[in-house]
Symmetry: C2
Subunit: 214 residues, 2 copies
Amino acid sequence: MPYTYDHPHPAVTVDVVVFAISDGRLAVVLIRRAQWPHAGKWAIPGGFVGIDESLKRAAWRELREETGLKAGHLEQLGAFGRPDRDPRERVITVVYISLAAVDRLRLEAGSDAADAKLFFVDELPELAFDHARILGHAVERLRDRLDTQGVVQRLMPQSFTLTELQRACESISGAPTDKRNFRKKLRALDAVEPTGEVRRDGPHRPAQLYRAKR
Amino acid sequence: MPYTYDHPHPAVTVDVVVFAISDGRLAVVLIRRAQWPHAGKWAIPGGFVGIDESLKRAAWRELREETGLKAGHLEQLGAFGRPDRDPRERVITVVYISLAAVDRLRLEAGSDAADAKLFFVDELPELAFDHARILGHAVERLRDRLDTQGVVQRLMPQSFTLTELQRACESISGAPTDKRNFRKKLRALDAVEPTGEVRRDGPHRPAQLYRAKR
């Protein structure tokens, strides 16, 4: 059934950048496109907004359909709408960011996605559309938010050592931190607390485990 | 001439929140709507995005057409798309923020606008659509950016006293500041420099004038 308008309308999509920390490095969930355009290329999961659906609801649904993930908090990054960004028609996309703890990520490709996988942000494959540019903006936004408690809460696993947290923060910011400065900032932020457990691996002194404060 | 699609498409608009400081108070440019829906109500200037037009270009054009203003830097606030926000059809709007020095604001209503005027943000009339909610988010974003040099550069007139700048910042943040703390922060920000002139009004000691550093 065709839909008719008296002036041309763009299509609107949503895309969801899911960040996680894997092996101490910043990583992002990508799907491999099954269909034209850019079939076979990797892309940020997303799709068309239903005509009666809110933007956030569409983001939640598309992420679920294409990757099996249920997004927690979704923060809007913004709209991207260069006229030539999609060969099908004028497509304006509204991008959301979601943060996931890697120990709760169970990826399961579905819908228009041939595959769904976690990639390190500094080792990305070639991406479809303008998704490399969008991902660049998403990483910048994450850096801006790095000193907020929510990032630690959502991005880190249930327990971690302070060295692991420091490596994760360095991977996001793209720059090394001095250990003493890092711990001082962390105290000021008051974002973590000791679990009371320790982890022993190798010949080192056992490391205290921490969790994000709720 | 009708435009036909095989699935329903939303319309996409842009809206531009222009902030200025008037009499030391945060103010915003609004237009009075000439047409249905919400004819006669005040609204954030904006309109439909051309099918081949970038979002930012559309924002610049609509602001120009409705208010006579040429926007300088446009920062995207985000997309707002609740399904019922416009009685005409599904309309998703992408909102931009622009900062203007009040001594360079020359408002001239045009296009779909019956009038264009500056309103104090704490004395707003009833607004069309979900524009009160959008404006609330725009004020929050401005508060988040308050400690950046760009805000002083774009929002303040060519010269001003430090007391005027403090009043402007207090109006944006919605909270009074201690004079000594304010001046300490200002020095750290390194955003202003003396013009070498003074202003005499009334029986007080003449006040030093400052300008934003470029």
